[in-house]
C-alpha cells in the first residue's frame, strides 16, 4: 500500500524507454519515501515481459494480459488503473507524457479526483505548508514544470489527494539499471475483474508506426536552429554543418512553427530532450521550454546576433554574429583543420 507506481507503456511486447526512465526515477523516489516501487504492464502476450522492468528495482509487477489490451485504447487501460489504484492506494503514479500517457492520465485522475501535473521536468520530495488552512505536509511530490508559455517555473503539489500523478516526457529522466538480478514479485491479474466488456467500444482499425528517421536523442553532437535561421533554406546550412560534424539537426519550437524544420526535430519541453556532448544553438533566443530540453548538454555554443539572447547566459561560447556569416565559416574551418 501507498507505494510508487509507474504505468509502463508497451509497443507490442517492448517496454517504452520513457517508462524505464520513470522506473529509474520512481526507484529513487521510493527509496526516499521508504516504500516500494510497483510497475503496471497492460497488453497482450506479456509472458516474460516483466524481465524488462525488474532490473530497474521494481518490487512488484502488475501484469494485465488479455486480448484487446494492445493496441492501447483509453477505456480498458483507464479502468485497469482506476480499479487497481482503488485497491492499492498508491501515493505516487508516474507515466510518460506521450500520446498514451496524456490520453490515459487525465481520465484516471478525473475518476479518482486526484491531481495530475503534465510534462514535469523535475520531480522531488519535500514538505509543504498550507498557511491558510494551518496544515503542514511531509513527503509530498514536488511536480516541477515550466508554465505560462515558459515564463515561469511552477512547483505543483497535491496535498490532499492521492495518488499524486505526474507525466514526464521521454529523455527528461535518466534510465539506469539498478541490478540486473533484482527480485520482484510478479502478479498476473484477472483482467475481466478490472475491465468490463463495455470498455472495448473504441476499435483500432488501422495503425502505422514508423521507426524514427533520425537519432536526435542519442546524438553526441546537435546543431540546432531557431527562428533566427530565417527560412527552410537557412536550415540547409545547418544540415551541411551537421553532416560535416556527424551531428544531428534539431530545432526550436519557433522554427518548427514557422515551417523551417520538421516537427520531429523539435527540442524542448514539448519536443525531444537531448544531452549531447556539444550543442550548437544557431539563431535560438532560448525560451525556457527550449532550455529545458538541452540544458544538460556538455558544451553549449550559441551563435546569435543578439548579444542579450537568454541562451547566451547558459552558453560556454557565445559567438556574436549572424548565422549566415558564422556557420559557413565553421564549415570552412572545420574542413580545413580536421584533415
Amino acid at each position: 500500500m501507498n507505494n510508487v507506481f509507474v504505468y509502463c507503456e508497451l509497443e507490442g511486447t517492448k517496454v517504452a524507454d520513457v517508462s524505464l526512465e520513470l522506473l529509474t526515477k520512481g526507484r529513487k523516489l521510493a527509496n526516499q519515501l521508504n516504500c516500494q516501487l510497483e510497475a503496471i504492464l497492460a497488453g497482450e502476450h506479456l509472458a516474460g515481459v516483466e524481465a524488462q522492468v525488474l532490473p530497474y528495482g521494481v518490487d512488484r509487477v502488475h501484469v494485465f494480459d488479455a486480448p484487446g489490451l494492445f493496441p492501447y485504447t483509453s477505456l480498458p487501460h483507464a479502468d485497469i488503473l482506476i480499479n487497481l489504484f482503488k485497491e492499492e492506494q498508491p501515493q505516487i503514479c508516474l507515466m510518460g507524457a506521450t500520446v498514451i500517457g496524456r490520453d490515459l492520465g487525465p481520465r484516471v485522475s478525473s475518476a479518482l479526483t486526484s491531481g495530475l501535473t503534465a510534462d514535469c521536468t523535475a520531480l522531488e520530495i519535500g514538505s509543504h505548508e498550507d498557511k491558510k488552512a494551518g496544515k503542514s505536509y511531509e513527503n509530498l511530490l514536488y511536480q516541477i514544470r515550466p508554465a505560462f508559455g515558459g515564463n515561469i517555473v511552477a512547483t505543483i503539489v497535491n496535498p490532499e489527494h492521492r495518488p499524486q500523478m505526474a507525466t514526464v516526457r521521454e529523455g527528461v529522466m535518466k534510465k539506469e539499471v539498478l541490478d540486473p538480478n533484482y527480485q520482484g514479485e510478479v502478479i498476473c491479474h484477472e483482467v475481466a475483474k478490472y475491465v468490463p466488456e463495455t470498455d472495448f467500444v473504441v476499435k483500432v482499425i488501422d495503425r502505422h508506426v514508423e521507426q524514427a528517421k533520425h537519432n536526435l536523442k542519442g546524438a553526441p553532437i546537435v546543431v540546432a536552429g531557431g527562428y533566427g535561421m530565417g527560412s527552410k533554406e537557412g536550415f540547409d546550412m545547418l544540415f551541411e554543418l551537421a553532416k560535416e560534424l556527424h551531428a544531428e539537426v534539431g530545432a526550436s519550437r519557433a522554427a518548427v512553427d514557422a515551417g523551417f524544420c520538421e516537427h520531429d526535430r523539435q527540442i524542448g519541453q514539448t519536443g525531444v530532450t537531448v544531452r549531447p556532448k556539444l550543442y550548437i544553438a544557431c539563431g535560438i533566443s532560448g525560451q525556457i521550454q527550449h532550455i529545458a530540453g538541452m540544458q544538460d548538454a556538455g558544451i553549449i555554443i550559441s551563435v546569435n546576433n543578439d548579444p542579450n539572447a537568454p541562451i547566451n547566459t547558459i552558453a560556454d561560447y557565445v559567438i556574436n554574429g549572424s548565422v549566415e556569416e558564422v556557420i559557413p565559416k565553421m564549415i570552412k574551418y572545420y574542413k580545413k583543420n580536421s584533415k
Binding site: 487525465p106 508559455g149 482499425i205 524514427a212 532550455i291 565559416k329
Partner: protein, 298 residues
C-alpha cells in the same frame, strides 16, 4: 438526420508571442501585455465541427467556453465562422480552477446544454499545454474519447459510429467508436476557415451580459442600439453562472482543484563562465581548432 455538436474553446493569452514587457518588475506575468486569442487547437476542433455540419445537413454547432466576460469574444469568433450559438460559463467561483475543476465545470454546463452526439475540443491550450481537460470532461460524462484527432473520416448516423484518424507516437492510427463521444483535435488537423463576412455583419454586435454592461470595452460610452438585443435575440450571448449549471461550489475553482501551486519561480538562468567571440574568421577558426584539440568534435 443530423448531429448535435458541442465545441469546447478557450480564450488564452498568446504565450507564443511573449514580448519583453510580458513580465512585471516583480517577476510576475503581466497578463495585460499578452493579447487574448482563440486557443489555436480549439480552432482546429471548430473546423472539424463545421465540416460535419456541412456534410450532415441540419446539424448544429454550439460553442462552450469558460472565462471572464470578455471571453464572449470566443463565442463571437465561432459565430463568425458558422457556429449556431454558444454559452459563456462565467463566475468568480470558477476562478483558480486547475484542469479537474475546469472539466467539472464544463461537464455540468454540457449536461445543461442537453442532448449531444459529438463533443470536440482542441488537444490542449497554449497557456497550460496539459491536454487534460478533454479526457477529464469525457470521464465526467462517461463518454469514450479519441484524443489527438487529425481528421474525422466518417460519421455513420444510422449505426451511430464515428471513424477518425489520430496521431500516435511515431505514426497514425484509424479508430472507430460509438456516439456520443468526445474528441480532441490536434494542431496538425486542417486549419480553421476564416471568418465569413456576412456572418461578421450579422453577429458583430453579439454580446454577453457583462460586455453589454461595460460598453467602455468597445470604446463606447453607452451601449449602442440597446433595442437591437430585444429585436434580435441571437445577439445575446448566454452567460451561465455556477448556479445556472447547478454546480457544486466545492468542486469549482480553487476549492475543487487537487493541485496547488506551491511556488512560482521567475526564470533566471544561472550564468556560467563563458567566452564571448566575434564572428570573425580568426575567432571562428580558433574555436574550431580548440574543439578539435579537446576532441569535442572529431
Amino acid at each position: 438526420m443530423s448531429l448535435r455538436i458541442i465545441v469546447l474553446a478557450k480564450q488564452v493569452p498568446d504565450t507564443r508571442n511573449v514580448g519583453k514587457d510580458a513580465m512585471t518588475a516583480e517577476g510576475t506575468v503581466n497578463r495585460a501585455a499578452l493579447p487574448a486569442i482563440f486557443n489555436p487547437e480549439d480552432l482546429n476542433a471548430l473546423e472539424q465541427a463545421l465540416r460535419l455540419k456541412e456534410s450532415h445537413p441540419g446539424s448544429t454547432v454550439t460553442l462552450l467556453t469558460m472565462g471572464p466576460g470578455r471571453a464572449a469574444e470566443i463565442i463571437r469568433e465561432g459565430l463568425y465562422r458558422g457556429a449556431d450559438g454558444g454559452y459563456l460559463l462565467t463566475d468568480r467561483a470558477f476562478a483558480g480552477a486547475d484542469t479537474l475543476a475546469t472539466s467539472y465545470a464544463l461537464a455540468t454546463a454540457i449536461k445543461k446544454i442537453g442532448a449531444y452526439d459529438i463533443i470536440l475540443g482542441g488537444r490542449q491550450a497554449i497557456d497550460g499545454d496539459t491536454a487534460q481537460v478533454g479526457p477529464q470532461v469525457a470521464e465526467k460524462l462517461g463518454l469514450p474519447q479519441i484524443t489527438y484527432t487529425e481528421e474525422i473520416l466518417k460519421v455513420d448516423e444510422e449505426a451511430r459510429r464515428i471513424t477518425a484518424k489520430r496521431h500516435i507516437d511515431g505514426g497514425v492510427e484509424t479508430v472507430e467508436g460509438p456516439l456520443p463521444i468526445l474528441l480532441t483535435v490536434n494542431g496538425s488537423a486542417a486549419p480553421c476557415r476564416p471568418r465569413n463576412a456576412k456572418l461578421v455583419m450579422k453577429y458583430k454586435r453579439a454580446m454577453g451580459a457583462q460586455e453589454k454592461a461595460a460598453p467602455a470595452c468597445h470604446g463606447e460610452k453607452t451601449l449602442a442600439y440597446p433595442e437591437l438585443y430585444e429585436q434580435r435575440p441571437y445577439l445575446n450571448i448566454q452567460e451561465w453562472s455556477v448556479k445556472d449549471v447547478e454546480g457544486d461550489l466545492q468542486q469549482c475553482g480553487l476549492s475543487g482543484s487537487p493541485t496547488k501551486v506551491k511556488a512560482v519561480q521567475n526564470i533566471v538562468f544561472q550564468a556560467k563562465e563563458s567566452k564571448t567571440l566575434t564572428g570573425s574568421d580568426q575567432d571562428v577558426e580558433a574555436l574550431i581548432v580548440e574543439l578539435l584539440a579537446n576532441h569535442t568534435i572529431g
